[in-house]
Symmetry: C2
Subunit: 355 residues, 2 copies
DNA sequence: TATTAGCACTCTATGCCTCTGAGTGCTAAA
DNA sequence: TTTAGCACTCAGAGGCATAGAGTGCTAATA
């Protein structure tokens, strides 16, 4: 945006005052900070309004930043907010204390951010895994019962108990092991076709649907390895903010945020940036068109990303929120990175010999 | 409650009118239905107010049922509401369509009730399992990697991948299998003591902590087999009801409902009844003292129960909600009963050969 | 004796009015 | 180019009268 330096300073002052007070900002309120008379600022304000960066709720009120105004602020005027030692200490503390199980990492991380920011936070996974099968094992429990164990590319292990009334013997189990380990390893979910399964059934001489059951389980295991999950935390805190004092407005946005399938469509930061800020109408979803979203991503192993999104009014402390989010995303990256690929997601707490 | 028949009819009329309209009920509004003049009803109303069954927002307003009034209504006056064929059809339809995976049964059931009732609904598990271990299996992946598979009493199977930098050989795996299968089967989580683990370490000649890792996993598997879970659905719909138009009030109750640990403390129906109704101050939690909860339970196998709780203002259509809840709880019981003990909770979708 | 019609009374909600004050835009002076 | 000054605008608060719903009480009625 090509505007004079003084206009920028004024815009910044207005944004920051408004973010703090939630009251339209008058010319007097900021003139002392800028060393200019209120009249001068009034003139500049009029021009900023003409440029579409400020808005006036009514003639005799102060100015409020428009979405465009916030965008200019975020892109050009926002001071980098680095967290204080005290703040990083607290954040780290909370992280270590509350994120213990990888199982619930997504939900826990969301809750943590919600507690720190006092805004609703969604946490979700994005991206597909292209996960592959590494090996099959079969455990014969008794003549009707078989446990299938599948180990995936990223060291996840999944199992399933199957009952076969027709009965199974050791020989069949060995044959299954050979056929599945030679025919199915290295395959993705989509590569396990009906033809392949039929071929294996012939190879095993299986007429009881055993092969089909095992193959079905393998597909399910692959699909579940990188499930799309979504959690919402701190929903109630939306009501703290004056923008959402109107119950209808609050209800609309809460209903939107409670719908997992809608959350799934929310955007992730681009490859380059670590935090993405969407202001008001920049949100595709109509329900968010007068709210803002600050979203950060971190790797969950494979092609899977974790997303943490803070939702609030456009009058948000963008600097503060994005500082917290990007710090936390970085910490999560380290936290997860230390374990190499994602270990054992969904199968118990880390043992003493896991890094 | 020992009151005249006519008073009961009047109380019922007031409750039902108020539940529908959310407006204080005047004597004129119900006199035609009861074939009495408004003056007579006014006299009765005054007495019902003296008895504490009705309240008056202010002198020149109609009457509103008190918590005590609702209690009398629920205990003595409420007509049994049986769902119409149309309604059971729709409910069944929704049930079959939306509850497919046992994994997410709890959450799905909650969401379903929330959609039908337009109130927030919590779904949670209650009770402990006393689950035991049935057998151990060990799969040696390579010389540093071992998969432990544990089968529990209720046919659940859990696994974990362990890395041991020091290396493992076939002989050790066989020894582990013998020791664990003889020493640990039939034990509950609490019975796996430090002494037992030490004894096994000696028996296996293990100095690398392998035994400890496996035992730790076994404990975790037992504890996780019947986890306490909680889900909240339809939170946003609380704002639809005039009682919660005040954002502060709405926020308080939403914050309460969003706290899983607080939900866990909510009561379950007694052994006898299938639906329990808690009206206003009957709720122990202060946050719920001007709200009501209707809660139903259904068996989840073992000693574990599933709870479905509908939360709303005391001005609730108790007959309708409890009819829906008890019907649904019954259906879930059938749905789950068909599968005997809870099969495979948390380990993949049902295969074609599971009953 | 139980019920009802009638009436005075109470109290909230609504609309209307005025007043206040914050903030503006414009003009003229510095 | 900046600033002081001034007239103007408009939302919001407070005061006031009014309408209307509903009550409690009394006296008449069945």
């Amino acid at each position: 945006m090509d505007i004079s330096d003084r206009k920028k300073r004024i815009l910044r002052a207005i944004v920051e005052s408004y973010v703090e007070s939630a009251e339209p900002v008058g010319s007097k309120a900021i003139c002392s900070d800028l060393g200019l008379s209120s009249a001068t600022i009034r003139n500049e304000m009029a021009e900023l309004t003409a440029l579409g960066l400020l808005e006036q709720p009514h003639t005799s009120a102060g100015r409020v930043p428009s979405s465009k105004g916030y965008r200019v602020y975020v892109n050009e005027l926002m001071h980098d907010r680095t967290l204080s030692a005290q703040e990083t200490f607290e954040l780290n503390n909370a992280l270590r204390q509350r994120i213990t199980k990888l199982d619930s990492l997504l939900a826990d991380a969301g809750r943590l951010v919600a507690d720190f920011t006092h805004y609703p936070v969604y946490a979700l996974t994005a991206g597909s895994s292209g996960m592959k099968i590494r090996r099959f094992d079969f455990i014969l429990v008794d003549k009707n019962t078989l446990i299938v164990v599948v180990m995936l590319d990223n060291d996840q292990v999944k199992n399933k108990l199957l009952h076969f009334p027709a009965g199974i013997d050791e020989a069949l189990v060995r044959k299954l092991s050979t056929v599945f380990n030679s025919g199915f390893t290295g395959l993705e979910s989509s590569e396990i076709t009906h033809e392949l399964v039929s071929a294996c059934e012939t190879a095993c001489g299986d007429t009881e649907g055993i092969v089909a059951s095992v193959a079905g389980f393998a597909i399910a295991a692959l699909d579940e390895a990188a499930p799309r999950q979504a959690y919402l935390s701190g929903a109630a805190s939306i009501l703290e903010h004056p923008e959402y004092r109107d119950p209808d407005k609050a209800q609309r946005i809460l209903a939107y945020l409670s719908d997992d399938s809608k959350l799934m469509t929310l955007p992730a930061p681009d490859e380059s940036g670590e935090v993405k800020i969407l202001i008001g109408p920049e949100n595709v979803a109509e329900e968010l068109s007068d709210s803002s979203v600050v979203v950060a991503s971190y790797d969950l192993g494979g092609d899977v990303k974790g997303l943490l999104g803070v939702v609030g009014p456009t009058r948000m402390d963008y600097a503060n929120i994005s500082a917290h989010l990007s710090y936390l995303a970085r910490e999560l990256r380290i936290f997860l990175g230390g374990a190499g690929t994602l270990p054992q997601l969904g199968s118990g707490p880390p043992g003493p010999d896991e890094k």
